[in-house]
Amino acid sequence: MSDAHLDEPDSTDSTDATDRTDGVADRIRDDLAGVDGYRVALYAAIVGMTVFFLTPIESGLVTAFKTNPGGISSTLPFAPPPPRFFTLEKWQTALAALGRGMVNSALYAVPATIISALLGSFAAYGLTQADWRARYKAPVLAMLVAGIFIPYQAVLVPLSQFWGAMPLAELLTPLWLLGVPQSYVGLVELTITHVAYGIPICMVLFRSYYRNVSEEMIEAARLDGATFRRVYRRIVFPISTPMFAVVLIYQFTQIWNDLLFALILVSTESSPAAPVVLILAGLGESMEGQDFALRMAGAFIAALPTLIVYIMFGEEFAEGVAT
């Protein structure tokens, strides 16, 4: 490995788009040309980082299949379980404990995600495409943007007071008459709370997108007499689909994963309305010590929805974050 290699124009084109159109022969030639000290070091570093990022997940995954006690203390934490220590019992226990939590989490995470994305889109449209005076618009925008960065602790006590004083349970009486457990009022509170705190980030994501929307198209529609609302419905909303994907992924992850509001508004993991993170936080705890195999199995079950979303839509998400 010498400086001569470093001087090769190996990254003059910073995208690899051209690579993909090359033929197989070209690719093999490129690969062979690339086998030198510099490329080896580069791939070693990349694989090394991959190991760093995957080890905790891998270790957790194999541990979840081991017997406890026994398997997890007599095998290496990253080694797969040998047959005599292999068990599916922890997954069954975890699923039994977390199952209702998964349903509860979905009951508020899905509506809260959709509503906050929609409201964020509305706000972003109203604040980008309308040309009202900057000195009025800047404070509104600043307050919405700052909303992303508020530590939730700064609102917890008033939030408890607010939901304590709200007669939400009485307003929802028909639900309880239908047999829904009364503690599900916590899920309605969680939905509204997550919507309110999710709007700022959704607004910012949509705004960065709407600012790049072709102005001619909207102006033409306006000249044709379309109202502000009609432009949104017929033009802006339909072309927002890619950004909706990003915002929905992000919001769903945030809401599904959030512990603090669940802890404050539902409070006990034994509640029929307990979200999955709340149950997971207390899983595998006992006087005799921690059942790590059970905890790992639980962690995977709780993480499954967001993991699937990321693995399937990671590309779109990465592009969306970058804008």
Binding site: S11, P56, A154, P158, I199, Y232, A281, A299
Partner: protein, 338 residues
Amino acid sequence: MRDFLSRTRSRLRRAVFGATGESDDTVVTDGGTAASEGGGVVDRLNDRFGEDFTESAPFWLPPFLLVGLFVYGAIAWNFVISLTDYEGFVGPDYSDLDFEMYVRAINDSAVIDATVNTFLLVVAFTAVALGVGMVLAILIDRNIRFENTFRTIYLLPMSLSFVVTAQFWLWMYNYNNGVVNIALGAFGIGPINWIGNSSLVLWAVVFALVWQFSGYTMVVYLAGLRAIPTEHYEAARVDGASTLKMYWRVIIPQLKGSTISAAIVLMVFALKAFDFLYSLVSGYRPPNGADILATKMVREAYSTNNWAYASAIAIILFLMALSIIGPYLYYEYKQGNL
């Protein structure tokens, strides 16, 4: 289906707002419908703020009010509560307001420790995550194979909740069977009690958080790198700069914008590390040596019912956050982004 929806919507709107709601299917400007409202409020608003303001208000005003109520209203209320003596189960008494709780917080060594830890956590985590993320972005940007796969792997931990990552790292740091101690044992070091040792636990937490979020930094830097014109790389090469020098002198300085936006988001994550610590110590127990203002506040409020004191600590935390947000918003404003 769509017809049904729009009909239901206009019927709902009529029920809620009376007959003044503008129908979706008639193309009229707001001025026309506003006149029917009688009072001419919209006309006056039009005069004052411009037609665009009144037209766009239905879009941004409801979300803005919701945020205003839940975020800013709540913070104001929180501040008032912090001036009371609210404790236990009886509601706050708003007739006797003073700064007593703040005096108490300043003299509370646990709060001071938590403030120092919050500061250390935010600074160390942000700095290291930025560094690791930049290295990852540069590696990924060097025209490698399976770029998308590696990128997804690095970003994967970010999809996990703090509660889940806390479970993983509790296991990683386990004294007898954890990967960390077994790996160190191969070099003849340890085992070390990472979570139980009050002088190590904060750094163990920082390390775990870096693992979770440096993939995010990578994505931001990668976008920054790809926005730099190729000519800059070529020019550096023509000047005979080595790869290392090229990055240090030419490329990294151009990533200032990416650094700022990534740093802001990382700091926010750091301030939210409550979830992680709560799961790490399983509940409201103080994480000895890693107590931050967020955990201290929640404990004071929900474990011991010191509501007013918790509110005062929350305001201190909010002011710390504000010292980050304020300059950032000013920067964005100067850049013309607000």
